[in-house]
């Protein structure tokens, strides 16, 4: 992996890589990301041609298919970085960032792809996960957020073990006013999502997720936070099936004050109309 880009001057503009899951399933996470960055004085641009980084195909072994998507991704984002139109690319996902920063060089390692390998390396150096960007690049650990309740943190695998990002989200959470950060047993253990693994090996994936869900319930947290909506989908899918009160939310939602304890299902929130159909574990602030 290439060395990360350094910033002699504070970055002013970033391109948002929102990820396909956030785009389609959790737009509120994308909006939270935008607002968090804007609050730090960063201008956000959103290249609308973006779709998916190619990770699902790559993880399943379909390298040709993944390579097509990876090239496409590089074509969209790399010119923005190289031309200086943006200082960095930021995504609210450790897993999708890992694809770009750690796995594109695998896809482009053949001789014929040398141009893309070079361009992908440029892009990788300037691509950051959201909390990594806030803490390591902007030097911010307090985003002036508030949450009156107990929080806990699940360390997603790619974020923790490929990117080595762990202290950054924890530092941000520690500074959430009113929140008590409670420990989570096995916080660094996989939730069992693993992309197609969740389908191909459904029963094992479920067993792993049930363990994670049980640990979250045991932690006594009102909400558990994480930096990847894929793990979030998996754990919430189990919590919802078990009709638990506790939910998992993306860290951007907490940092952007989109989550209250009262958001948990079974309690109603007077000031926001319930979305239709009711989306139990997400915040309702789609329309502002």
């Amino acid at each position: 992996m290439t060395a990360k880009k350094t910033f002699p001057n504070p970055p002013r503009r970033v391109a948002l890589f929102v990820t396909c899951m956030v785009d389609m399933l959790y737009p509120e996470v994308g909006m939270a990301t935008v607002e968090l960055l804007e609050k730090q004085g960063i201008e956000v641009v959103f290249p609308e041609a973006q779709t998916c980084c190619g990770q699902p195909a790559f993880n399943a072994g379909f390298r040709d298919e993944a390579r097509v998507l990876a090239r496409r991704f590089v074509d969209i984002f790399e010119p923005l970085v190289i031309s200086g139109q943006v200082d960095a690319v930021v995504a609210p996902s450790g897993s999708c960032v890992t694809m770009v920063t750690h796995f594109y060089d695998v896809l482009f390692e053949s001789e014929s792809a040398v141009e893309y390998r070079y361009r992908a390396a440029n892009l990788a150096a300037a691509t950051f996960e959201l909390t990594e960007f806030l803490v390591d690049v902007l030097g911010v650990t307090d985003v002036k957020s508030r949450f009156d309740g107990k929080l806990t943190y699940h360390a997603s695998c790619h974020l923790l073990r490929e990117l080595g990002v762990d202290r950054q989200p924890r530092a941000l959470l520690e500074n959430v006013a009113g929140a008590e950060l409670v420990p989570l047993d096995g916080a660094d253990e996989c939730c069992g999502f693993g992309g197609l693994f969740a389908i191909k090996n459904g029963p094992i994936s479920t067993a792993m997720g049930e363990r994670k869900a049980a640990n979250i319930i045991k932690s006594g947290a009102d909400v558990a936070t994480l930096c990847d909506v894929s793990c979030m989908t998996h754990i919430n899918g189990l919590l919802s099936r078990q009709q638990q009160r506790c939910r998992v939310v993306h860290i951007a939602q907490v940092l952007n004050n989109q989550v209250d304890v009262a958001d948990s299902p079974g309690t109603s929130r007077a000031d926001v109309a319930a979305p239709e159909p009711s989306r139990r574990w997400q915040d309702a602030r789609e329309e502002k």
Partner: protein, 486 residues
């Protein structure tokens, strides 16, 4: 109901997941071993140790032919006999021939995964030779007629209650839950076997090329027994298990002990360089070493040479969240866990549904962090998946699904259309179950059997973004206009 390692993969996994006792046993043991390893590595500069062992082992692979020749000539000079085996069958035949020539009636064995890999016990027993496993765990599963389920803790899949029943059933032992009592009974029985066996068989944790020395690591002392008491001693090893120097051996030894059991040193490290000298009071008269390929060269040739650095410590099994749920037998192979998932399809062994093993991982990377040689196991699993695709070795459905996915993601138009289609469909499904989606058609039913799925957002992010930009433009224009009008 224990897992039948020859059953189809899905059946093995289902049996394992429904075996409550198995899952209790696995949970108790792996969490303990995981903590012990982490503590032992944290007590020293574990990162530096791992880097050094990795460097040493990559040197070994790069120089393997020369080191093998050095090992062979030193062993021969020390008075040992060196044999080469292309595969398990040849290794079995060599060992059987040695046993027959030495007129062996009974063999005692120290735990050896290599001998499990080539099903040596069955071959010897068929030839009328009694084979006694002497590692306590191996002894228990030999009594229970099961294969080992962990590289270093063969009976990890049994609770103490289950082990007690095996002792009662097979040895007529009175019921007890006292592990010392069970160990005491095994000590007595096995002591008789050690002192009366003609042949000792062990694997090899590492062989030192510069001295011609076979090293075995044990805690119980059975490794010392099999290499010291019987008349004939045979060590069987994969061609990759070499270290260049004595110092390298002790470096790997300490990394192995810390990674396997969290010990600084195992209780015993037995280093055998040759048969006993004429004036020694004990030791074997004959010493044979079998160097076996059995698919290891294939691993190197196919680009999986990194997995040949494995020191078989089992740390990746203990760290693996998949292994913790299903245990070793579900992998259907001698080698289980992440390393087993990588090497089983490549080794020359007979594993039912071996092609499923590279997919039996969420790629979480805990194994790589635990590995004393830093083998990038997730990357190797990804490569195996890619090889399967390249060789057309994938299910028709997977291929169609991924192609459709890639086609969709290639074009913003199709992407938008698919999203809108998914939104309609998911709203329908969510509406039926009142909120989240609790039912989806196959293959997505594999998800909704146990987990809900959120409905697609009413307005995608990109639509919200567009609206926001338009709103801002409008406000911006209005602001401009009001400025002019002022």
């Amino acid at each position: 109901m224990s897992v039948d390692i020859h059953a189809p993969y899905k059946e093995r996994v289902d049996t394992a997941l429904h075996d409550k006792h198995l899952r209790i046993a696995l949970d108790r043991a792996t969490s303990r071993m995981k903590t012990q390893r982490a503590d032992a590595m944290a007590a020293i500069d574990g990162e530096r140790l791992r880097t050094q062992v990795r460097k040493m082992k990559s040197y070994v692979l790069r120089n393997l032919p020369d080191l093998l020749e050095t090992l062979e000539s030193n062993l021969t000079a020390n008075g040992a006999h060196v044999h080469w085996a292309a595969d398990g069958e040849e290794a079995d035949r060599i060992i059987l021939d040695i046993a027959r020539q030495a007129n062996v009636q009974k063999a005692v064995k120290a735990k050896s995964m290599t001998s499990e890999e080539i099903h040596l016990n069955g071959v010897l027993q068929q030839a009328g030779i009694k084979v006694v496993e002497t590692d306590l765990g191996e002894y228990i599963i030999q009594l229970a007629d099961e294969p080992p389920s962990h590289i270093i803790a063969p009976v990890i899949h049994k609770r103490i209650e289950d082990i007690s029943q095996v002792f009662q059933r097979e040895l007529d032992m009175p019921p007890t839950m006292d592990p010392s009592a069970m160990t005491g009974a095994a000590r007595q029985i096995l002591r008789r076997e050690f002192l009366s066996a003609d042949l000792g068989i062990s694997g090899c944790n590492f062989a030192i090329a510069e001295t011609g020395t076979i090293c075995i690591v044990t805690n119980e002392g059975n490794g010392r027994m099999v290499s010291s008491m019987p008349r004939v001693y045979i060590a069987v090893m994969g061609i990759e298990k070499l270290v260049p120097t004595v110092e390298d051996a002790f470096l790997q030894y300490q990394a192995l002990c810390r990674s396997a059991t969290g010990q600084q040193c195992s209780v015993y490290l037995s280093m055998t360089s040759g048969p006993r000298r004429a004036d020694h009071p004990d030791g074997p008269e004959e010493f044979h070493v079998v160097l076996m390929d059995n698919g290891r060269l294939n691993m190197l040739a196919r680009g999986y040479g990194e997995a040949l650095m494995c020191v078989r410590c089992g740390a990746c099994l203990n760290a693996c969240p998949v292994y913790r749920e299903i245990g070793g037998h579900a992998y259907g192979s001698t080698y289980s866990g992440p390393i087993g998932a990588v090497i089983s399809p490549l080794l020359n062994t007979d594993v039912t549904d071996a092609d499923k093993l590279p997919h039996a991982s969420s790629l979480c990377g805990a194994c790589r962090d635990a590995c004393p040689v830093k083998i990038d196991l997730p990357r190797l699993l990804l490569n195996e998946r890619a090889d399967q695709v390249a060789e057309g070795d994938t299910a028709w459905f997977d291929r169609q699904a991924i192609r459709a996915f890639a086609d969709t993601m290639k074009s913003p138009g199709r992407y938008a259309a698919a999203a809108s289609f998914a939104r309609t469909g998911s709203n329908l499904l969510a509406g039926m179950s009142g909120g989240n989606i609790t039912f989806m058609p196959p293959p997505f039913s594999a998800w909704t059997q146990s987990r809900d799925f959120p409905p697609f957002a009413k307005k995608s992010f990109r639509r919200q973004w567009r609206e926001r930009q338009e709103r801002r433009k409008r406000i911006g224009n209005e602001g401009q206009r009001s400025k002019i009008e002022d």
